[in-house]
Amino acid sequence: MAVGEVMRMEIPAGGDMSVTSPELHVLAVDDSIVDRKVIERLLRISACKVTTVESGARALQYLGLDGDKGASGLKDLKVNLIVTDYSMPGLTGYDLLKKIKESSVFREIPVVIMSSENILPRIEQCLREGAEDFLLKPVKLADVKRIKELIMRNEAEDCKTLSHSNKRKFAEYIDDASSPSPSSSSTHDESAAKDFPSSKRMKSEDEKFSSLL
């Protein structure tokens, strides 16, 4: 069953027919054992299936991206979201994000970065590389709920590219973040697409629109 498909619950005798959305499977990556415990709880409360790993390398191994041919059978469930800490020894969250986005198989999986440090260039760098969102630690339940809603909405739209609202939000963010920007004269959406052509999702969004014409 693919994510986005609607699943019927068992109908109790005389009860009403309830329809529920399938659970997201989240891969949470953090080198801190305390933080892994907390993020796992936050995600479980938000009705997500959770797999936690302690490093970027382990995450790649789990996904089967580490080049080890035998490893791709490791995961039993498709991963719908990756939530990763930024500062980790070895592969940082940013490195992991890059590897995911470089993969033709996994680039569509949304990646959210967490960090205890509110460093604007870092946030920009991650969003530019295709991160869905950036959460400041300590992560709160409200953050997780928001992310989940965002992901579910994107999946439900059956749109493999950045949703229009995300793209607008992203463009707005970049606009707010940078003071007199040379591209500020053009429309937000266009300038965002032009500045970061490396993101395949952006390209496909353009293709999608042009195919509607």
Binding site: S32, I33, D35, R41, I45, S116, P138, L141
Partner: protein, 133 residues
């Protein structure tokens, strides 16, 4: 018993040992997971004992590897933040500042204070969880 729990908890907050984050964690508890915070605390103290030991070893060596020390403290600060250990977090921040400017004396002094706050928090939380049962 309830009153005892409330008193310990109040004092932990009044004296600044714990902050908002601890409350956030408590709100994640439910009937199916009634000991979540205690479990997190147990993990925290086990992990921080390891960090304290590493830092001690690094300091004993005499030659201060400020990068390494800052690295340990970054981890320590991170987990302290996650559990809401406010005073410990503050000491971690100060220690990192001393690392940044290469002040060995400041590091040693702050570390001593950090261990003290950490030990006090541990004891008080043990009392708190005990009283909560």
């Amino acid at each position: 018993m309830q009153r005892q729990v409330a008193l310990i908890k109040q004092s932990l907050f009044d004296q600044g040992y714990l902050d908002e984050q601890f409350i956030e964690l408590e709100e994640l508890q439910d009937d199916a997971n009634p000991n979540f915070v205690e479990e997190v605390a147990t993990l925290y103290f086990k992990d921080s004992a390891r960090l304290i030991s590493n830092i001690e070893q690094a300091l004993e060596r005499g030659s201060f590897d400020f990068n390494r020390l800052d690295n340990y403290m970054h981890q320590f600060k991170g987990s302290s933040t996650s559990i809401g250990a406010s005073k410990v977090k503050t000491e971690c921040t100060m220690f990192r500042e001393y690392c940044r400017v290469g002040n060995a004396e400041g590091c040693l002094r702050t570390f001593k204070q950090l261990k003290k706050e950490h030990a006090t928090l541990r004891k008080k939380l043990e009392q708190y969880f005990q009283a909560s049962k």
